[in-house]
Amino acid sequence: MDLFEYQGKQFFARYGMPVSPGEIAFTVEEAVAAAERIGMPVMVKAQVHTGGRGKAGGVKFAATIDDVREHAANILGLDISGHVVGRVWIELASDIAEEYYASFTLDRSARKHLGMLSAEGGVEIETVAEENPDAIAKVWIDPVDGLDEAAARAWVAAANLPEAAVEGTVDILQKLYTAYVDGDADLVEINPLILTPDGRVHVLDAKVTLDGSAVFRHEDYAVFDETQTRDERETAAHARGLQYVGLDGSVGVIANGAGLAMSTVDVVNQVGGSPANFLDIGGGANADVMAGALEVINNDPAVRSIFINIFGGITRGEEVANGIIGALERVRIDAPIVIRLDGTNAEEGRAILEPHLSDTLQMAPTMLEAARRAVELAASAGTDENREA
């Protein structure tokens, strides 16, 4: 789950990190009212789940209320890399003496947490990594040990931060690590972390990605889930608890298991087709799950055929077959379906499907064969429509 900047700052504030006072605004009027409450000058900042806001004109300094009105009007509705700005964060502007960078994420290769700290903040860390890798001080933290003050102090020294910034940074890094671990984050990043002319170290931006698997420990994260960026199909799938990624082809894909679903998407491409989606129905393929999956696929107007690819392990063949039959009784499917069913109790499953087979509900013995047929069906469905038109 990606947080907006303002949500990230609120998250950091819970762990005692210094952030600027601010308010979220959905309209120009709200932005103006917020600025009047906060006091001038303020920053007007687009809230989107993507980078490059500044370059796109999504971050502006406002010295007066008129500036706030003008910038908010320009930024709200702005398209930043396909993300339309629906809300702006109005925040008291800060004086900046220096800009740093700090982050924690999981280093999967090292199986440890990776902390990165640099005196060269305010720019993309990837650029710093490429042009001046020595400017990034890295620490690998064993999750069992955590990050104590001595380690944080040595790390800040390694990053060559000026004396004036040391105490504040040591304090913030420990709090940031606590937020990262206790908050079950995949990533916490402050860029820039600033030193003000009066000597305070302060959080000026926040990028936070939370681990969706850890929601059971954090009931309050539901609020972040509501603000995720998803297209209409993805929203429908998410509401049904399905793992769905929208693609732009014509073959709807339903498979069990992420690997098999990815592989199904690959195979459809390999035989010359184009998948409309990735959809992993996970372990249990009962009628409810299958009906939900078919509904999601069915609502996608681009879908011309559907490829259901199930290999039974945790899912038993007869459950899958009954699920498909039950779902078809509940959902009227427009596109022809090709099913490939293998694995645990596959024969029992195929026997259940057999009497229901027709031109629009077919079964194929292998993954490749099923993909070919689904792609053919998608192609001929497209042709039929062209003829009618």
Binding site: L106, R108, S109, R111, K112, H113, E126, D142, P143, V144, V181, D184, D186, D211, S213, A214, F216, R217, Q243, V245, L247, A255, N256, G257, A258, G259, L260, A261, M262, S263, V265, D266, V267, N269, Q270, P275, F278, D280, G282, G283, F311, G312, G313, I314, D342, G343, T344, T366, M367, L368
Partner: protein, 295 residues
């Protein structure tokens, strides 16, 4: 021969009294696995179809001599369940459960290495392990695996693991051991752990590897293969056509910033001398060629 588990492996199921634990525990027993015990502190003293239930893994080990554990506990309890198993004295732990938080996995990996260096964790979020004809722990359908070798399989994906077994069986090729390491960010057992074990196993003559997008486990495996493997390897990497920045179901399967792509992984493996299939069937065909050349 096999790696990690064989006919002598005695397994205690943590969560045997739950619906999933019971279903797969009994299925594993039917396959021939020595399912010696279950645990549930609230149901100690009862049994599941004749399998005794104990309060803790330690008790189960003391009473039955269990050497491995299989975990069918919901995600919030997996961290504690793994540590209980390690403290309880088993040497091999299979965690099937999906949806375990990444921080729990990172902590488990490092905690086990420090306090229980001889204990191996497989998973979480994995299908388990099967040494066909000897032992099946987890959710793999036993009948799709042909016993006898000469191929060892290691896979990051559950259903593709079954697909790989099935492709080989269709060609009459057996398997020494098939290990599903799972697709999560910090798996207890890595490709390299399995490749090293297969390299050392005299019955395994070739290895089939199933990878997927995200992370750098395949690239690390390629390095290991180039430096340490004498046995031939075939591989398939899922997610060739996955769009960047999108999570493909697994916590691990995401392409970010051009890193972790299927193309990069396939290149690294190819450079290490691995024969790459562009789909699971083709990887199976490559393996059939390799096996035929073994003579």
């Amino acid at each position: 021969m096999s790696i990690f588990v064989d006919s002598d492996t005695k397994v205690v199921y943590q969560g045997l009294t739950g619906s999933q634990g019971r279903y797969y525990g009994l299925l594993n027993r039917d396959y021939g696995t020595q399912v010696v015990a279950g645990t549930n502190p609230r149901k100690a003293g009862t049994d599941v179809d004749g399998i005794p239930v104990y309060a803790t893994v330690a008790e189960a080990v003391a009473e039955t001599g269990a050497t491995a554990s299989c975990i069918f506990i919901p995600a919030p309890g997996v961290h504690d369940a793994v540590m209980e198993a390690a403290r309880g004295g088993v040497e091999f732990i299979v965690a099937i459960t999906e949806g375990v938080p990444a921080h729990d996995e990172a902590d488990l990996y490092n905690r086990l290495r420090r306090d229980f260096p001889d204990v191996r964790l497989l998973g979480p979020n994995c299908p388990g392990i099967i040494s066909p004809g000897e032992c099946n722990i987890g959710i793999t359908a036993g009948h799709i695996a042909l016993p006898g070798g000469p191929v060892g399989i290691v896979s990051r994906s559950g259903t593709l693991t079954y697909q790989a077994l099935y492709e080989l069986k269709e060609k009459g090729i057996g398997c020494t051991t098939c290990v599903g390491i799972g697709g999560d960010p910090v798996p207890g057992t890595s490709f390299i752990d399995c490749l090293a074990a297969f390299e050392a196993d005299p019955e395994t003559k070739a290895v089939m590897m199933i990878g997927e997008i995200g992370g750098s486990a395949e690239e690390e495996a390629a390095e290991f293969i180039a430096d340490h493997m004498t046995k031939p390897v075939s591989a398939y990497v899922a997610g060739v056509t996955a769009p960047p920045g999108k999570k493909m179901g697994h916590a691990g399967a995401i392409v970010s910033g051009g890193r972790g792509t299927a193309a990069a992984k396939m290149d690294a493996l190819r450079d290490a001398g691995v024969r790459i299939g562009l789909n699971p069937t083709e990887a199976g065909e490559h393996m059939a060629d390799i096996v035929a050349d073994l003579g």
